[in-house]
Subunit: 65 residues, 2 copies
Amino acid sequence: MYVSDGTARKILKEAGASRVSAEAAQEFQKRINRYAFDVAQKAVKLSKHAKRKTVAGSDISLAAY
Amino acid sequence: MYVSDGTARKILKEAGASRVSAEAAQEFQKRINRYAFDVAQKAVKLSKHAKRKTVAGSDISLAAY
């Protein structure tokens, strides 16, 4: 997990949560992780498609949803 | 930023990147951050809509995209 349980809870608190269940913190971590890895994989594919070895900002922008 | 520059680069490398531009790492951090905060805000709204004070796993699932 790239984001800790503590960070997941912190984000939810900053977004206005009074309390956060253990399951919610875990699910949130999982979703952030999945999103990040999906975008990363797509960005790498886009950089290769453009025949570059360096992932560029434009690859991230195009990959992100 | 909830995810550091180093973590953003690490995720991209794990997804197969050979090299990552400074701009890409920064854009990636920004996108992860935005996604996490958007999902968190939506989850908090959903918990309030359900008249709960605790954000539940189901709020996260429903909020995530």
